[in-house]
Symmetry: C2
Subunit: 136 residues, 2 copies
DNA sequence: GGTTGACCTCAAGTTGACTTGAAGTGGCAG
DNA sequence: CTGCCACTTCAAGTCAACTTGAGGTCAACC
């Protein structure tokens, strides 16, 4: 099993070395040992960082991510909760799809003000309804 | 045109009144006048908040959102940039879809450690590659 | 016309997620 | 064996996005 320095992991993951040290501090990733005083990481760390990166994209806090994907990838949350989060993610994906469409729309639609464009309004009505649901 | 108090808009949008005041401070939303010293908002504010809410979901900063959807919905950014952001959003949507699948997977897969499950690894390999691309 | 409660302002505080700086260590190429 | 440079620790600083608190205002109902 090939071990790597923090600098290499930083390069691979696109996160700064200070971020990686911070993540280890708070227990989000683990180094497998030291070479002198240098942390050594294995391939699993890169996988975990990929997961963390996705979790951040989804707007989860580092604490949330820690709960959902513990050290070995085994979650500390009950199955039902994980499915619930996956479903919420699904709703978010639908929202982002609307936002993507809205962005393309405002880029191209020649209407004076988008707020009056029926197509744009239709996109946004969805967002309003989704928000209302989240409150319930 | 029916006007509403900040409390009503807060209820409709699911954002606290202090947040709405803050958003007006930084120019993200606009009130259309005052009733006594109370801000009055119209329907457009609710639409804008829906848009802001989606933008936040996507991980955009409030400044980004301000640039992409100015007061009237007319962007302050060139068309090409907006399309570029929409495409980035598309990549993000694909990432979140993988994350959703990964969540369902860790909830259900009986494997000792997910890091060794081939299905899980396949999901994560994508994430690693996506991350690498973002660096380029 | 008095009380109430939702609103107001403005400054300061909080939280999450890092980043920076100073001072030190140690593996390795020359 | 010497110098370099990527690493180390730990405390303090930064930034975005709000939230809180103190003290004040006023439209509407009783």
């Amino acid at each position: 099993m090939k071990l790597i320095d923090i600098g290499v992991l930083s390069e691979q993951s696109g996160m700064s070395t200070s971020t990686l040290r911070y993540y280890e501090d708070i227990g989000l990733i683990q180094s497998v040992g030291r070479h002198g005083l240098r942390r050594q990481f294995d391939a699993q760390a890169a996988t975990q960082l990929a997961l963390i990166s996705l979790g951040k994209m989804a707007g989860f806090s580092l604490d949330d991510i820690k709960e959902m994907f513990a050290k070995d990838g085994a979650p500390q949350l009950p199955r039902a909760e994980l499915h619930r989060r996956a479903d919420a993610l699904d709703a978010q994906i639908r929202g982002l799809t609307r936002l993507r469409d809205a962005l393309h729309h405002v880029a191209d639609c020649p209407a004076e003000t988008h707020m009056k464009c029926p197509k744009f309004k239709r996109l946004m009505d969805f967002a309003a309804r989704a928000k209302a649901r989240r409150q319930a």
